[in-house]
């Protein structure tokens, strides 16, 4: 067992956040699990409401309250607890940032297969609680595929372990799943055990620039790629507005990543070059160049730490649809009117079905666009969650969308874990 403490981050936490809410009258910054449990137990007994925050990038994600009684910050509860290279598992505290974790693991040629936005600020606790994923989810899966065990402080102050430290485990219910994506409404995650993968020996990024009129051809090509032998780690499509910002080319761009041993990566790049339909151009970045691109890509969307200036309104949507319907989401903007004061940047994964829409502009147009994207997603049986929005607007727009018919099960689960609504009250779907 190797223990390593990561130096504390210098990023200070804003206790008060007028714009995004989810703040607290009082700040608790525990440095041990016991302290976390004590804060919860006491609050629970005294009928106080607690908001949990790790890196604080997601204060604009859900939540109807400006202030809770206590803001429980886990940003100082960080570090690697256990890493056994031969087992390819790691146990960390929730306040560890993604970047800190990946840097620690890279010395061993290993990685956590998650590529969320803002790795410098986003913490592993926040990423898991919010179930964030990035483009390479196509190959590696999302948080629910990596987490094998958790320690969770329940509102009553008890510590519950879920899962374990081994990579395969079906003993009892798969309780890990309950806390992933629960937005901290069921318990505070105090320790996370994940399975690791070797850092790929080679990687490259093939960019395919597609003129608007060739979108249909692209669709066929994507089907061909999927039917072929190549194994992309991403098939992330980018709309012309975002493409212009990233590459200064106002066309659709498809980002096809390959990660494997050298020979395999070269072979797949070559396959792409040979099969690209006429009229589309290709650009390949290898190794560090590809890494550099993904780093920049991870900071595209605003977050509640960066989005502090007034002026235009910013919103970020997470849309889930069937994989191929991502193309439809890309095109929603074409049917929209009154968007003269609105910038719409979109990227979506044709291998995983998650589309991210970044809206920047005049408030009423942002609101209108949210409704239109949601209507389109719902017509495809999908959903649109607004994952970044000022608190004032969150009170007007239901950021989580409609409740499923089985919402009573969510209520039942919440009530079982947190009968007094102590934790992150009203942060989640249906006001849970």
């Amino acid at each position: 067992m190797e223990i390593k403490d990561i130096p504390q981050s210098t990023a200070s936490l804003v206790l008060k956040d007028e714009k995004f809410g989810n703040s607290g009258a009082e700040l608790a910054e525990p440095t041990s699990e016991e302290e976390i449990a004590n804060v919860l137990r006491k609050a629970n007994e005294e009928g106080k409401k607690v908001a949990v925050v790790s890196g604080g990038t997601k204060r604009g994600y859900g939540g109807l309250k400006d202030d809770y009684d206590i803001l429980l910050s886990l940003s100082q509860y960080k570090g690697i607890i256990e890493h056994t290279a031969g087992d390819m598992t790691v146990t960390v505290r929730p306040g560890t940032t993604i970047k800190e974790l990946q840097e620690f693991l890279s010395d061993f040629g290993q990685m956590v297969s998650l590529d969320p936005a803002w790795p410098e600020q986003a913490t592993i606790g926040g990423v898991i609680a919010a179930n964030e994923s990035g483009p390479k989810r196509m190959k590696y899966g999302s948080a629910r595929d990596q987490v094998i065990g958790l320690r969770v402080a329940y509102p009553a102050g008890t510590i519950i372990r879920t899962g374990g430290k081994v990579v395969k485990n079906v003993a009892g219910y798969d309780m890990n799943k309950l806390f992933i994506g629960a937005m901290g409404t069921l318990g505070v995650i105090t320790e996370i055990t994940m399975k690791l993968r070797p850092v790929p020996k080679a990687e490259s990024l093939v960019k395919l620039f597609v003129p608007k009129e060739q979108v249909q051809v692209l669709k066929e090509f994507i089907v061909n790629i999927q039917d072929s032998m190549v194994e992309p780690a991403s098939l992330e499509m980018i709309n012309p507005a975002l493409s212009k910002k990233l590459f200064n080319r106002e066309v659709y761009t498809l980002l096809v990543a390959f990660e494997d041993v050298e020979n395999s990566v070269r072979y797949q790049e070559q396959w792409m070059e040979e099969h690209v339909p006429a009229g589309m151009s290709v650009d390949v970045s290898q190794g560090d160049k590809a890494k550099e691109f993904w780093r920049a890509f991870a900071t595209l969307a605003p977050n509640s730490l960066t989005d502090q200036e007034s002026g235009s309104t910013k919103a970020v949507l997470k849309i889930g649809t069937k994989n191929m319907d991502v193309l439809t989401m890309m095109a929603v903007e074409e049917t929209m009117t009154d968007i003269d004061q609105l910038e719409i940047e979109i990227h979506g994964g044709l291998g995983h079905g998650i589309t991210t829409v970044i809206l920047t502009g005049e408030e009423s147009q942002v609101k209108q666009a949210i409704h239109q994207f949601r209507a389109e997603a719902e017509s495809k049986k999908g959903y649109a969650v607004v994952k970044h929005l000022p608190v004032k607007l969150r009170k007007e727009i239901d950021v989580w969308g409609k409740k499923p018919s089985y919402f009573f099960l969510f209520e039942g689960i919440k009530k079982t874990n947190d009968p007094n609504n102590t934790l992150n009250y009203q942060r989640f779907l249906g006001g849970i």
Partner: protein, 490 residues
């Protein structure tokens, strides 16, 4: 005349519930006579038996819902059953349950290659899915050794794994959507059309692996994958288990993610060589590894080279790469029929299913050898070495008084050995009845309580598959008395 009589007799034995349920599914879709029920008194875990009240065969979700509503309204305990291959007793009607068999809901409903998904009914057999899509070059990844008979519904309930789960993940990583009949008869659809991350708590993840205690799955959307371009398989023979185990760690630490990495020890090899698919493994080796690498063909050779290097550095006696698809197929048939092959060298066997951190393999295998010596029973090991999922097969003869108890005790000791190194008591076969008490090896009372409270949200009356998965509330039972209880019912 006599025919008439026997019919009348049957009629009088039919109680009102049987009549009512027959009205839901049709008179030919229900079994209730003792002789018809006999084959439903256990599943793949055969040391425990109990008779169901009836077995019903609904044809669609509406019938399942109607049956469940009926049972709920009349306080009749009930449970779901797929193919009955479960190895932990999950489908055994401990409380005289009405068994709702999904055996007649066995259709492939839809395949969507563009979106890489397929929709199946719960009784659809695992291997049939791959067979139905292989002509297009696609397959369904989770491949339990029982895949030619077990159902995808049963796989969801058990979160089944298989040899190729090391690289591709287990059932839960391949389920995109579920239709479920809740214990009150309400039908819900989670992640309809396989849409990812549907907002709210991850009920799909929670239901997968819940061993049929939270609801009955009636429709499943699964991910399908494209066949890898290339595949190569290596067979390596070792003169001692330690070297074999170290080779496993060596391969993993070299940054290779094999599709499969399986191990067998000497006793297991004796079994498979006496079984239906002998390969001609040398009789005097202590361990063999079966290693498969798949992916882009251009990248496989260098990984195979590395694997051969690792094996050589661990004193391998002989190592070879399969030269043809036929040879590869033979090696896998030999491995996948490994459990059954134990029948050739022992009248009975009990398979266990512990998981350990991979790096602890040598010491745990040593401990299992000691358990074998202490119990006087032979233990064969065939297992998924790559993910640390052990399958000690405890060989015994139930005709010899006391030997079944000894086998169960040895099984428990193996699980304790796994728990002691920070492992788990089950990696893919589930807890069922078999490992209920062993849950205490890894969970505290509070942790068990956190889980049972979740069950109560779904299954408040506890009519669905009651008495499974969780230990009886009384604290710290003596293992011996449990063994007695379990065997007494036999």
């Amino acid at each position: 005349m006599s025919l008439f009589k026997s019919r009348r007799k049957k009629k009088t034995r039919r109680d009102v519930h049987i009549e009512q349920m027959a009205a839901i599914v049709g008179p030919d879709e229900i079994l209730f006579e003792k002789e018809d029920l006999l084959s439903y008194d256990c599943d793949g875990f055969t040391v425990h038996k109990a008779m169901p009240k009836a077995v019903v065969f609904p044809k669609n979700t509406e019938e399942v819902a109607a049956l469940v509503k009926y049972c709920a309204a009349h306080d009749l305990p009930f449970l779901a059953r797929g193919a009955g291959t479960g190895l932990s007793g999950g489908a055994i009607p401990l409380n005289g349950e009405v068994i709702i068999s999904l055996g007649k809901m066995k259709n492939l409903l839809h395949v969507d290659f563009e979106n890489r998904q397929a929709v199946v009914q719960p009784g659809f057999v695992n291997l049939k899915l791959t067979n139905s899509i292989s002509s297009k070059g696609y397959y369904y990844a989770p491949d339990p050794s029982s895949q030619y008979v077990c159902t995808i519904g049963g796989n969801v309930a058990e979160n089944a794994g298989g040899a190729h789960c090391l690289k591709y993940g287990v059932t839960t990583n391949h389920i995109l959507g579920l239709e479920v009949v809740l214990p009150n008869g309400e039908v819900i659809e989670i992640s309809e059309d396989g849409i990812p991350d549907s907002p709210g708590y991850d009920l799909m993840g929670l239901l997968t692996g819940s061993e049929g205690t939270l609801g009955i799955v009636t429709k499943i959307t699964v991910r399908i994958l494209k066949n890898p371009e290339g595949k190569q398989t290596v067979l390596a023979y070792f003169d001692n288990v330690e070297d074999g185990s170290r080779a496993v760690s060596g391969i993993i630490s070299a940054g290779i993610v094999p599709a499969a990495l399986e191990m067998m020890d000497k006793t297991a090899i004796e079994g498979v060589e006496a079984g239906t698919f002998p390969v001609g493994h040398p009789k005097d080796i202590e361990a063999l590894l079966l290693i498969e690498v798949d992916g882009i063909a251009a990248g496989i050779d260098e990984q195979i080279e590395q694997i051969l290097e690792v094996c050589k550095s661990r004193n391998v006696r002989e190592v070879k790469v399969a030269e043809s698809e036929e040879e590869r197929g033979k090696w896998w048939a030999n491995r996948k029929t490994g459990f059954g092959a134990m029948g050739a060298i022992s009248p009975d066997y009990l398979v266990q299913d512990g998981v350990i951190p991979r790096s602890r393999l040598p010491e745990v295998l040593q401990r299992i050898t000691e358990i074998s010596e202490e119990s006087g029973l032979r233990i064969a090991n065939i297992f998924h070495a790559g993910d640390g999922n052990l399958h000690p097969l405890i060989l015994f003869d139930s005709r010899i008084p006391g030997e079944t108890e000894k086998a169960l005790e040895a099984g428990t000791a193996c699980l304790k050995a796994c728990a002691d190194v920070g492992g788990s008591i089950t990696g893919e076969h589930g807890v069922g009845i078999e490992k209920k008490e062993e849950m205490r090896f890894i969970f505290t009372d509070e942790e068990l309580d956190a889980q049972t409270r979740i069950r109560e949200v779904f299954n408040p009356e506890d009519l669905l598959n009651k008495g499974k998965l969780f230990p009886t509330p009384s604290r710290c039972m003596d293992i011996k008395t449990i063994v007695k209880d379990t065997v007494a019912v036999k």
